[in-house]
Amino acid sequence: MTTRTQQTADRGTDQLVGLLGVAFLMTGITMLAGMTMLFAWGMSLVLTLCLALGARRQGRLGPFKPWLIAALVVWLLAFALMHAASNDATRLMFGFTEATAAAVYLLWPAPFLLVTLPYAFLFDRHVLSDADWEAIEQFRDQKQ
């Protein structure tokens, strides 16, 4: 990577972390104020931004971008449903009240499908290729 590209990538990371700082601040304030829906949404944004920070390579999210956007949308939706859906035990959805079903059938498995699985599938393309590892090995050999 050229110095110029690296500088652009670093600036992008600084902006991402700046946004993460603001998200943490808003999450902390809404948590203390007892604004639980906003707290949950702020936390969802924090989690997504952290994943984005870990997934970035050379300033790009690459193929992770749609997956992380989808994960954020599902988190926001799941917490909204948990707040707003019915808790009437006469209207059950697969054994749980509708609000609890949003937690069990959406909040629980969705991050596994949208965040954890893509890491494995996109690893070779975007996380660590053979060439990346060889470059680190060369670095180590030079040091020795």
Partner: protein
């Protein structure tokens, strides 16, 4: 306790000691002792990470609080679906590549490599020791309780037996024994959880039946927040997902991966195993609440929920596997922390004071400190009375607040500064201590509103301080090898 349960438990313990003795023959250097010679395969790393992260609380305390407070407690287990991914996205590659270019054995080594600061290394070692004391004491007590139930012996004898078994295999075989016993223990936990969950739902006549009966008595119990309210429950989800970035028993395992290119499936295996294991929490807690509501059982303590269910409703063979699974969960967490605690004493703290210790010194004294820590945790478990409840609170939350920003963000953000790391370490640990000790000791009126999970406050504050101070101070020029690791 019946003969089948005792026999299964005895076979399991003999197996653990056998693994320890096998590993002892492979353990010849301090690198073998503390990081399993950096030669562990993907499946073993994934299962060991899962089993050391999921303690005995999953099998005993979890169903107990689920029985008491309802569905909201699931938010302590649901983070597993994303927490392992966070660890792999943010830590796995960086930690493994660090271990390729520098001699890494502990989490404070990574902190030192990233920030070139002995103070940051020392503070992270102190934070780790605080958490280790809490984790070890509670896991040792849990081992004592469960062994006491299995063999019908007194608590102190159960503690002594548990400490002896873990100390033998952890001292003899170091992290090689720790990893491979964790793999077996993870397998037992999975098997026990899966069969127990099926049985529990069957005993309760299915989830719809249990939900309707419980809701008739207590509608809050079946809501997604249970009897706790959304503030606390969302705080749990937050700290137990992102907080994994500060857990040394998870982070240092990435040094041990033999082939970095094969680590891609690790998060999937660890998360899937943790999610399946969590079923025991949901199913046993729910069926015991249902059985209590229809008048079939009465519990003296919520922590009796899972043992009583196994003894009254499960076949002896399954009960034996379950009790072995509980002991396995406690032991797999305890052995990791014995190793991490010993490394803090013989490597991290001396190096923080600028004193290099030789590999031979670390190997020899690492074993001695493993034994000393095991014995000390046993004594604390038996004799400390209320102190153990206080020590128990310095676990996950302390690691999360102290280490997650410096490690998780720091390895992914070149602009992060040494001052930011030191400030967040100090704020994270001190705020966590202040809030939790004040709550336990009642020195001052409660400092936070009732809807707030205390660890979430120190956690958020630590991140904000880390980011704010890093932006306000000048970053150092990173060495080429660290730059290469962070840009990879």
């Amino acid at each position: 306790m019946n003969a089948t349960i005792v026999t299964i438990a005895a076979i399991y313990f003999a197996g653990m000691i056998a693994i320890g003795l096998w590993a002892a023959r492979k353990t010849k250097t301090s690198e073998d002792y503390f990081v399993a010679g950096k030669g562990v395969g993907m499946w073993a790393i994934a299962l060991a990470t899962m089993s050391s992260a999921m303690s005995g609380f999953l099998f005993i305390g979890g169903p107990g609080i689920h029985y008491s407070f309802g569905m909201g407690t699931l938010m302590l287990t649901f983070p597993a679906a994303v927490s392992f991914a966070l660890a792999w996205y943010m830590l796995a590659k960086r930690m493994r590549l660090l271990a390729a270019v520098r001699p890494m054995m502990t989490v404070p080594d990574a902190i030192h490599a990233r920030y070139d600061s002995n103070l940051a290394r020392g503070l992270s070692a102190i934070a780790i020791l605080l958490g280790v004391v809490g984790y070890l004491a509670t896991q040792t007590l849990a081992m004592g309780v469960i062994l006491g139930q299995i063999f019908g012996i007194e608590l102190w004898m159960g503690v002594a037996l548990g400490v002896a078994i873990v100390a033998v295999y952890a001292t003899a075989g170091g992290m090689i024994a720790g990893i491979y016993t964790d793999v077996v223990q993870g397998g037992i936990m999975l098997l026990a959880a899966l069969i127990t969950a099926y049985l529990a739902i069957d005993v309760g006549g299915g989830l719809p039946n249990m939900t309707q009966v419980i809701a008739a008595n207590n509608p809050d119990w079946v809501s997604p927040w249970g009897g706790l309210g959304p503030g606390v429950v969302i705080g749990w989800y937050f700290v137990f997902s992102l907080g994994i970035l500060g857990q040394p028993q998870v982070a240092h395992k990435f040094y041990m991966i033999r082939e970095p290119r094969r680590m891609k499936w690790g998060a999937v295996v660890a998360a899937a195993a943790a999610m399946v294991t969590s079923l025991v929490w949901l199913s046993v807690g729910t069926v015991m609440r249902y059985l209590a509501d229809i008048g079939d059982i009465s519990l003296a303590s919520p922590d009796d929920a899972a043992p009583l269910f196994m003894l009254q409703y499960a076949p002896s063979l399954l009960a034996g596997v379950f009790f072995a699974g509980v002991a396995a969960a406690s032991m797999s967490t305890a052995d990791s922390f014995l190793n991490i605690g010993a490394a803090a004493f013989v490597r991290d703290l001396p190096m923080a004071f600028g004193r290099e210790t030789s590999a031979d010194f670390q190997f020899k004294w690492g074993r001695i400190f493993t034994v000393l820590l095991a014995v000390a945790s046993g004594l604390v478990a038996v004799f400390s009375g209320q102190l153990i409840a206080i020590l128990g609170i310095f676990g996950w939350g302390t690691f999360a607040a102290a280490l997650a920003p410096a490690l998780g963000l720091g390895l992914n953000w070149a602009r992060a500064t040494t001052a930011g790391a030191i400030a967040s370490l100090i704020v994270g640990v001190s705020l966590q201590l202040l809030l939790e000790l004040n709550n336990a000791m009642g020195w001052l009126p409660e400092l936070l509103p009732g809807h707030v999970y205390r660890a979430a406050v120190s956690f958020v504050a630590s991140f904000i301080v880390f980011i704010g101070v890093s932006f306000a101070t000048s970053p150092r020029n990173l060495p080429d090898d660290i730059k290469a690791v962070m840009n990879a």
